[in-house]
């Protein structure tokens, strides 16, 4: 019976995950010839040219920066929501979730009008006789877009772990003479690590593969891995090279998951995923 109920899921996964995966692998490891296709590593060879490695480097760098900023901004927010200091914590939680009800593209487009030269921020600055801020179409704008869009994915898992920590443990640490700082470093933070790990993963992966944010807020100048893949499939039609980049990306994501699960330790069940 159990087997039987699994059946639809197995079919679903085979059709929509396993088969496409093999197609991507097939395209990545073959090149078209006059008569069909032949096995080749040419697509991967091309990826390891300096120009594309720089794209990979840029993607990793921006993803790491965004993830760190999200963590720095998100952790205190999660602590405030999980703590007792603030009575209306549901309101904050709602404020984090409400923007996600709106379309992601729309929210990113909104930043275009906010950041542009004669946009909201600059009009405000000009009225206060302050110098203008020209950050649209720069790397800073891309990072801003990533942090803005992915921050909830950092806050929510950390919040869900923090709010489940037994208050008794924290009180015990205090009773045993630890000051607030030591309570945090020795008790709260280690206990919240599974939430941090899933938050970091959930921000890092989309940040690494995004192509919309870098195109809209970076003005098409900061090509990231996601843009490179999109371009190969939609504009250029070089499915082989596009698939090879995707395979490299899969390897990177598997690696980061392996590193993360090493940190995650035993308490997997607390994490969101």
């Amino acid at each position: 019976m159990k087997r039987f109920s699994l059946f639809p899921y197995v079919i679903w996964m085979t059709l929509f995950i396993v088969v496409p995966m093999f197609l991507v692998l097939y395209y990545a490891f073959t090149i078209p010839t006059e008569t069909g296709a032949t096995w080749s590593l040419e697509n991967f060879g091309r990826f390891f040219e300096p120009i594309y490695l720089r794209v990979l480097g840029r993607s990793l760098r921006l993803a790491v920066i965004s993830t760190v900023i999200c963590l720095i901004l998100g952790y205190p927010a999660a602590m405030v929501m999980a703590g007792n200091a603030f009575t209306r914590k549901n309101v904050i939680l709602l404020l984090f979730v409400v923007p996600m009800w709106m379309n992601f593209l729309l929210r990113t487009y909104a930043w275009l009008t906010i950041l542009e030269r004669n946009g909201v921020i600059n009009v405000l600055l000009a009225n206060l006789s302050l110098p203008r801020l020209n950050i649209l179409y720069t790397e800073a704008a891309v990072v801003l877009g990533m942090v803005y869009n992915f921050l909830p994915f950092m806050v929510l898992p950390i919040y869900s772990v923090l709010s489940k920590i037994d208050k008794g443990v924290v009180e015990a640490a205090g009773d045993l003479g630890a000051n607030a700082f030591r309570v945090f470093t020795k008790v709260v933070f280690p206990l919240s690590l599974p939430g941090v790990v899933s938050g970091v993963t959930m921000v890092f992966m989309p940040a690494l593969t995004t192509f919309v944010i870098s195109r809209l807020l970076g003005g098409g100048q900061f090509t990231l891995i996601g843009n490179l893949i999109e371009q190969q499939f939609l504009v250029v039609g070089d499915w082989g090279f596009g698939s090879a980049i995707s395979v490299v990306m899969i390897v990177f994501i598997l690696l980061s998951m392996a590193i993360m699960s090493f940190f995650e330790g035993e308490e997997k069940d607390v994490a969101l995923w």
């Binding site: 120009i51 594309y52 004669n118 179409y137 100048q221 090509t223 371009q231 039609g237």
Partner: protein, 346 residues
């Protein structure tokens, strides 16, 4: 008895279903796939009214998007609007159906000089929908120099003030024109030179855009932008500070055409649609709405003089001496792909 009732029930259902089917059959549909904001949509309603056909209307952003969708075969559109070079590619790959010119009598309104062009020499597969050039849209309050050359796009004075097109053939063409080469060159060295020029230009570029360019120029966010002529017309109506110039080194004359995919389900409906769009009155209203130049002579004659005499919208033949039409590049396309990928990744 129960058996009988069942039979009656089944029959009733069958009758109902077949009514439903005939109802559908009475309202045949055509699927139209066009560029975004590239038609006066009121005309679609009028076409439906006139022919009793239902129109399902979808849009795309670039030729390449459309090509991939038709090529993958998942969708059956009846009328599409590819540009010249893409039309040739689709003809060569046997993706199109021949037009039945007998059922498109309005094709006689199309100006002679827009027929029989290299991308479809016999007009077997296409009729032109709009045409235009590529040039520089600039803000006269921000640019003091005379804008008459592609060179200005490499002037460090306008660093972070210029917008390039995020479209590979168009941007590479700009560099080739500046260098004095053909925009259809197959020469590897010339292309490599154009690629280097674009990489050199990249630090000066504010952004690579397609549709947002017009809005950015209207809002005064940039001084110079490479745009298609029809967009320039629209932008200049919104912001009188803007002007449009076709550089002296030459330009690309392009055509967007109407064609019918090979596997279209309603070819007859498609022909009626193409005929409808070539009706002088309809073409006139469409030209007024889109701002793009119409190849329809009867419609052009009815347009206000200040539009048809504006050589940035309707360049005359001597303006177009140095202009070239894009041709399909075949295998060399992959070289263009590679150069553009490298410029963007630089």
């Amino acid at each position: 008895m129960i058996q009988h009732r069942k039979t009656i029930l089944v029959l009733a259902v069958l009758v109902l279903v077949s009514f439903g089917l005939t109802a559908c059959r009475e309202r045949p549909t055509i699927y139209v796939y066009n560029w975004g904001d590239y038609i006066d949509e009121d005309l679609i309603a009028e076409f439906e009214e006139e022919t009793k056909l239902r129109v399902v209307y979808d849009t795309y952003a670039t030729n390449e998007d459309m090509y991939v969708k038709i090529k993958s075969g998942g969708s059956t559109y009846d009328v599409i609007f590819p540009s010249d070079y893409m039309l040739t590619r689709m003809i060569e790959e046997d993706m199109l159906a021949k037009l039945d010119l007998v059922s498109i009598p309005n094709s006689l309104h199309i100006e002679e000089r827009f027929l029989g062009l290299e991308y479809d020499p016999e007009n077997e597969y296409s009729l032109p929908y709009t045409w235009g050039t590529v040039g520089i849209l600039y803000n006269t309050t921000m640019v003091d120099d005379v804008v008459d050359s592609w060179d200005i796009l490499w002037d460090p004075k306008y660093s972070k003030e210029l917008l390039m097109l995020d479209s590979q053939r168009d941007s590479i063409a700009v560099a080739l024109l500046k260098l004095g080469y053909s925009i259809n060159t197959l020469d590897q060295d010339e292309l490599a030179e154009a690629g280097e020029l674009l990489k050199e230009q990249k630090p000066l570029v504010l952004a690579y855009v397609v549709d947002e360019g017009q809005d950015k120029m209207i809002a005064g966010e940039a001084a110079l932008a490479v745009v298609w002529s029809g967009e320039a017309t629209n932008a200049r109506m919104e912001n009188p500070d803007l002007a449009f110039a076709i550089p002296k080194e030459g330009t690309n004359v392009w055509f967007d055409v109407m064609a019918v995919p090979k596997y279209a389900n309603n070819k007859e409906g498609a022909m009626r649609f193409i005929n409808f769009m070539n009706d002088p009155e309809v073409a006139l209203r469409n030209a007024e709405y889109t701002g793009y130049a119409t190849p329809n002579k009867a419609a052009r004659d009815m347009l206000p003089k200040e539009i048809t005499e504006d050589r940035t919208i309707y360049p005359n033949e001597e303006d177009l001496v140095d202009a070239e039409i894009f041709v399909n590049l075949g295998q060399t396309l992959s070289l263009y792909d590679r150069i553009w990928t490298e410029v963007k990744a630089h």
